[in-house]
Point group: C2
């Protein structure tokens, strides 16, 4: 019988996923329904095909939601993460498999037992990060352990960056993903990781200052700053005995020290509204974070407060954002410092139509095997085609699309609320990703 | 008819208040009831008197609460601030006047209209800060405006400090008030103030670094760091046209740069629990906030991270806290960084029985009068007697006690939920405080 697949939420980041699913539908005799609040717009994303249609979908309309889910065999949610659970509840009740690219929330986790009892699979964290990081790290860890290796150290980094050919600003960064998440990154609690057997805590005020320099041969030099909780997957990855576990985010080398300047100024704060008006310039905005001093210019105050020089790279990056400009007005007329900074950055870090983004992932393993010590590096680089078919959309959408295919084909035996940590996920998905030029490379050296 | 006064909450900070109220009870034929969860302990705080008794009181027992309130004429709440409202609700309903030393909460503010309708007074913020700051600033502001002055700048600072004769540690600080509030001071949102016509925002990560040096002649040199919202009282004080409004907290000169070191390390963070065990030394605890580096000692890492020298005052202060000690174990076995730091500080900053604390308050006014420009300073210094009869307990308890007397004597005409901003409060209270050696001094100079 032909499989029916329901894809919910046809936002910008779903483009590659939709193309992939429809292409596979032709091969495997599937029928695809794309549900969106705006079905007309969603329809424009469907390549010519009699195997797909767009329909109206509102996640808060439970009758409609249950009707559509009951008519399909597999459900893919590309909705914002907090909306997955109501869909997942229906999937458990109606016995339908489901897939998302989002982190498993606590509410989602609670559905595990009932999903197992119902015999369905709800696969999550199947995008880029989380997603390809799980697949690629687990394949290597399983192989090393099968050989008898003892894993001592694990580090993993990923970043959504700009390709060198489109890198024409001093920050080496443009937005290929939610700008708000970039501005608020690292806030809320200290970063926690394990280094040489010691728990380490890095507060927001030193997070970007203490980024690590990551040099990846043939790709480039990056800053890696620590993710919130590096120990989150320690048990799931079987790394209980490792003495170093670090997960981080990559930015182009030099980005983090300049971002730290914005953090220290207070421009990333989202907890209060600033007093601004129609005529507030970016210079006024910047000045509101600096003490009054009629002996010094704004530029001199910035250098004194941040202890930087006027010919430093940090200063140049701030200046390029027009933060010292009297002529440039703030782009929104009310908001928190973070909201105003985001609006400023959205103008300066806009991905232009022909710009190519770049995904870089890098794992580092240190292990002992037969009394010898080794260090293995594994890395991925993907360059986007343009500002629509981005490397970000490909690396998030394709693993999810392939996962959906595996579910439709009945190739996933595990039941419950899952992450893709086992060979039944990583072997076929990493294999098929190579067809799209998404392939990890590795090198191993013996340590003295 | 003799007045009956109910005092709720006989904690450590209520000692001076209780003594004052009972002394006045003898003069004015009052009867005092002290309600506390532990009436036996409360009874030990009552000087020999047939005008006072201690009774069991539980704020969550509404029948008991209403019975006790209905039997009295004036109610004083020394409970934790969030518990005042249930008492205030009963006072409004039963038509009883009430007094507290706490900030007016939003819930308390909402009782204003019904308190006015019922013809009762609920006076709040009648302690030290808030309290004596309101009384003393408003007296000066009212007098200046009556002369025809235009107020351009207003700054106000207050600090609970240690008297010079008991100042025997490098921080120049011991706890005379809630330690937790000291450790968490400044967290939550940026400090907001007005300086020379510009709104200024100072994030937590620069709050203590950007403290101002305050030199008060004959008293000493202090650091003043900005309070959360300096503009809170702009309207209430009638300072809508002032171009500078700054409210701050005083610490001994040199304290803030060293506190900033603890902030930057991440030791004041209350948002997560650290991994510690029985044998965790203060050195281990400190090391968990520093990156791994087997080339450097902990001491060298501290200096590098904080950009300080090993012979600096900041380093000496950290060392004196035993933060580099392998022998000193952390004093509590679980908690957030802030909770562990608090436990460390409670040992090191303990007020010894004979120690004397010190309250310093300092106001600065700049104004124009008859075409001439003046700067007026007003200051208060109070030295405590010992670790029980502290300057803090006196300056919090006495204004409240005198306010209660004014209420009992029917001398307060204003009704509703109030702060003490008018002459009917500040004239008699500031006057009587002089009898206890609590007196503001001032000097005025003409500006060029």
């Amino acid at each position: 019988m032909p499989k029916r697949i329901l894809l919910i939420g046809a936002g910008r980041s779903a483009t590659v996923l939709i193309s992939y699913i429809i292409q596979e539908a032709e091969k495997f005799d599937w029928f695809i329904t794309i549900g969106d609040l705006n079905p007309k717009l969603a329809a424009t994303k469907i390549p010519p095909s009699n195997r797909a249609r767009a329909v109206f979908f509102d996640v808060s309309d439970s009758d409609l939601r249950r009707k559509l889910i009951s008519e399909n065999d597999v459900v893919v949610s590309m909705l914002p993460a907090h909306m997955h659970v109501s869909v997942a509840n229906d999937c458990v009740e109606l016995g339908k498999n489901m897939a998302t690219a989002s982190y498993i929330s606590d509410e989602m986790k609670q559905l595990h037992e009932s999903a197992v009892a119902k015999g369905i699979t709800i696969i999550n964290e199947l995008g880029l990060d989380p997603g390809i990081d799980h697949l690629s790290a687990m394949e290597i860890l399983d192989n090393l352990r099968a050989e008898g290796a003892r894993i001592d150290e694990f580090e993993s980094y990923c970043g959504g960056l700009i390709a060198p050919e489109s890198d024409n600003n001093p920050w080496g960064y443009k937005f290929s993903w939610a700008p708000r998440n970039v501005v608020l990154a690292g806030q809320g609690s200290a970063a926690k990781y394990l280094e040489k057997g010691n728990f380490k805590y890095l507060p927001y005020q030193r997070l970007f200052k203490n980024s690590k320099r990551i040099e990846i041969s043939n790709i480039g030099n990056f800053d890696g700053y620590a993710n919130r909780d590096s120990l989150k997957y320690q048990k799931a990855y079987g790394l209980e005995n490792a003495n170093t576990i670090f997960r981080g985010t990559l930015r182009k080398a030099g980005f983090c020290e300049a971002w730290n300047a914005l953090v220290m100024l207070g421009m990333t704060d989202d907890s209060y509204k600033v007093e601004v008006n129609q005529n507030t310039s970016l210079r006024d905005f910047t000045n509101s974070f600096l003490p009054f001093d009629n002996q010094l210019s704004l530029e001199e105050k910035i250098c004194r407060e941040l202890q930087i020089k006027i010919d430093s790279e940090i200063y140049k990056k701030l200046e390029w954002l027009e933060l010292f400009s009297e002529k440039t007005l703030i782009p929104i007329k009310s908001g928190s410092p973070a909201e105003i900074l985001q609006a400023i950055l959205e103008k300066k870090w806009l991905l232009m139509p022909d710009d190519k983004d770049m995904i870089v992932m890098w794992h580092r393993f240190v292990y002992e095997l037969n009394g010898r010590k080794f260090e293995k590096h594994s890395w991925l680089r993907v360059i986007g085609k343009n500002s629509v078919e981005t490397a970000m959309a490909q690396t998030v959408g394709l693993p999810l699309g392939i996962g959906v295919k595996l579910l439709a084909q009945g190739k996933i035996a595990q039941k419950g609320v899952l992450m893709p940590l086992t060979p039944e996920f990583y072997t076929p998905i990493l294999d098929e990703l190579k067809n799209f030029g998404i392939e990890l490379h590795e090198e191993t050296i013996e340590l003295p």
